[in-house]
């Protein structure tokens, strides 16, 4: 039987806004496609094995938990970077997206280091959040993704990193440049809740297909 191994990175701490739904949909679709799915939780003080997984899922959390993780994830920086550079499939939502970049600034103005696995950074905005329905178009596939965004952070992509999609409705990464999320190798980042893969099952399918094709490489 085909195997699909999912790592739920910091899944016991980063699990707000129903992002668990994206994980459930991944598991459900993969089972329907005939995979035997296993999911492993890797949390603080635990080792991340860069060769052990087909998909890594990193969600968003409350400020306090994200801050605690921003310290622990530095210990996993090398192995996560290696996993990504080797073409591993990685999904980062909201806080998970921010932590993969160089740094993010909290609503109260505190600058917190990410792991620089991707070339982006996140600033805050004063007394404002980007909240509402959002629609983006994936220029790579022409597909449309829908979701709900709710973030204070304004993320700016650097060289070598593309957006997941172009904003058709809503704010996106920063409310300025029409980008939403990030794509680098097999990394998929987004601010979309709703949850992302619940509202966009076709994206879950595509991610599972990529993860499977990586197994033979």
């Amino acid at each position: 039987m085909k195997e699909l191994k999912i790592c739920h990175l910091y899944g016991d701490l980063l699990n707000t806004y129903g992002d668990n739904g994206s994980l459930l949909v991944l598991q459900w679709r993969a089972r329907q496609k005939g995979f035997n799915v296993s999911t492993e939780l890797v949390s603080i003080d635990e080792h991340f094995d860069s060769d052990a997984y087909d998909i890594v899922f990193l969600g968003g959390g409350q400020d306090y938990e994200q801050y605690v993780i921003s310290k622990d994830i530095q210990n996993k920086k090398d192995s996560i970077t290696r996993y990504i550079e080797n073409g591993g499939v990685f999904i980062g939502i909201c806080g998970g997206f921010q932590l993969l970049g160089h740094y993010y600034t909290t609503a109260s103005g505190k600058k917190i280091d990410g792991i620089s696995a991707l070339n982006h950074y996140t600033l805050n905005q004063v007394n404002n959040r980007f909240i509402g329905d959002i629609t983006i178009i994936d220029k790579e596939t022409g597909e449309k993704y829908e979701g709900y965004e709710n973030h204070n952070g304004r993320t700016f992509l650097g060289e070598g990193v593309g957006p997941l999609g172009e904003v058709e409705l809503g704010f996106g990464n920063n409310g300025e440049d029409k980008t939403e999320g990030a794509r680098y190798k097999n990394v998929f980042c987004s601010y979309l809740h709703g949850p992302l893969l619940v509202r966009n099952v076709h994206l879950a399918d595509r991610i599972i297909d990529i993860a499977y094709s990586q197994q033979s490489k």
């Binding site: 739920h8 899944g11 016991d12 701490l13 699990n15 707000t16 806004y17 129903g18 992002d19 668990n20 739904g21 459930l24 949909v25 459900w28 939780l41 949390s43 603080i44 003080d45 409350q62 400020d63 306090y64 938990e65 605690v68 909240i131 709900y148 709710n150 809740h193 709703g194 949850p195 619940v198």
Partner: protein, 448 residues
């Protein structure tokens, strides 16, 4: 009472009386009016009262109702506020309508919205504040739980003499230093082991050293006998303990607290926490065990939270669902019942339900797989999403029927293939359904 307060109180009372003559309850309008004339009126109104405030994410309504039921054994005319009137206008209205015989002590037991506690405490110095629990709840409206707790702490710190009666099984209530006297209640009914909370549980970090907490046992969510392997932070000594759970059914719950047997006509493990909180209030206020036993036996289900009704030959249990932890507890409750059953889930996304319905993905609908469910139907504004949630929880797409209108629910109950029908409904869906049930004569009255 100064002149301004006198005028304000008189205006509020007159408004209440006029509305009553018109056959209306008035809700919080008298309070709104009185507050307009004197924003500080609560200070005067509450002056001679011993006040107990009850707050928290889940269970404050039932804890208030049970505490009232117990304390009425000794103080039959005590003051309370109706469910849902837990902001300042509702509380002022409750005081305006209150009358006590001259020789009876003035006692008020009030349910208070988490965000309004600090405002209420600024006007009156409560004898006790009860904190039931804090969970993620409609984050688009309430924000992060630490923000909510900090608001509660502001209230606590305004009144250092007030005793804090807290759920000792909730780590967050042991996280802050403050000088108030504290009383803790909790569960001491399980064998000890070593475990962690389900991964999709919030607030599992040790508040002292930021490592993940372990538990000797868990009652539900993040509640239990917690301890930190890293720094030794642990559950405080309990003043009042649940010592055993004897029977859980859809109609009632039997249990022992501090070795004394009690029974309440309310179902669900989570409601035993509310009974334990009420017991703690009762003991704190000097009630005897006999008074508490008698008070519990008279307690009724809270209107609109959990209702067991008969429709023709069907036994229908209607449960309010509003956030993941509450939903999981309701799922636990209905799985107690071993008989084949039918399930109807009604999901709305009006403001009072929370506009963002993604929380249903944090509810463990997968548990329904343990039940013998013969029929599944979904309804409400977001029925499509609810249907998909159940599909992902391993129900086949074609076995989930869709009810397009709330008026389809009663026929669906009547046609159900089983005697037991479980309905899970968000707040406004519950109100709509109650209206239907009331029009058909299955229930009396309506929620304000």
């Amino acid at each position: 009472m100064n002149f301004k307060s006198f005028i304000a109180a008189t205006a509020g009372k007159t408004a209440r009386l006029s509305l009553k003559l018109l056959g209306r309850t008035g809700g919080s309008y008298p309070g709104v009016l009185a507050l307009k004339i004197n924003p500080d009126i609560l200070k005067d109104l509450a002056k001679d009262y011993e006040v107990i405030l009850i707050t928290g994410t889940n269970g404050k309504t039932l804890t208030t109702a049970l505490s009232v039921s117990l304390l009425k054994e000794k103080y039959p005319n005590l003051l309370t506020n109706p469910s849902g009137s837990n902001m300042i206008q509702g509380i002022v209205s409750a005081f305006l309508s209150h009358k006590v015989p001259k020789n009876e002590k003035k006692i008020a037991v009030l349910e208070v919205d988490e965000a309004y506690l600090v405002k209420i405490v600024s006007y009156l110095k409560p004898k006790a504040i009860v904190t039931t629990n804090l969970f993620r709840d409609q984050m688009d409206r309430f924000g992060e739980i630490y923000t909510v707790y900090n608001k509660i702490l502001e209230g606590i710190e305004l009144s250092p003499e007030t005793t804090i009666i807290a759920n000792g099984d909730a780590p967050i209530f042991n996280s802050a230093n403050f000088s108030n006297p504290r009383v803790y209640f909790g569960f001491s009914n399980q064998e000890e082991g070593d475990m962690r909370a389900h991964y999709n549980t919030d607030n599992v970090l040790c508040p002292k050293c930021e490592k993940i907490l372990n538990y000797k046992y868990i009652s539900y969510a993040n509640l239990g006998k917690y301890f930190c392997k890293n720094c030794g932070f642990e559950r405080p000594q309990l003043n009042y303990s649940l010592t055993s759970i004897d029977e859980l059914s859809l109609e009632s719950s039997s249990f022992h607290i501090d070795g004394h047997p009690f029974k309440i006509n309310v179902a669900g493990l989570y409601n035993i926490y509310n009974a334990l909180a009420a017991y703690s209030v009762g003991r704190f206020m000097g009630l005897s065990i006999d008074e508490i036993t008698s008070g519990f036996s008279k307690a009724q289900r809270v209107f609109g939270r959990q209702e067991l009704i008969d429709i023709d030959d069907k036994k229908v249990l209607i449960n309010l669902i509003k956030n993941p932890v509450g939903l999981n507890q309701v799922l636990d409750l209905i799985t107690i019942q071993g008989d084949p059953c039918s399930l109807i889930v009604l999901l709305n996304d009006n403001y009072a339900d929370g506009r963002d319905v993604s929380w249903i993905w944090d509810g463990q609908f997968e548990k329904l797989g343990e039940m013998d469910i013969k029929s599944v139907k979904v309804g409400g504004i977001r029925r499509k999403e609810m249907k998909f949630r159940l599909q992902v929880a391993n129900f086949n797409e074609d076995e989930i029927m869709t009810l397009d209108e709330i008026s389809d629910v009663i026929p669906a109950i009547k046609e159900a293939p089983t005697k037991y029908v479980h309905i899970l409904a968000t707040y406004t869906a519950m109100l709509q359904l109650r209206k239907e049930l009331s029009q058909h004569g299955y229930v009396k009255g309506e929620i304000d």
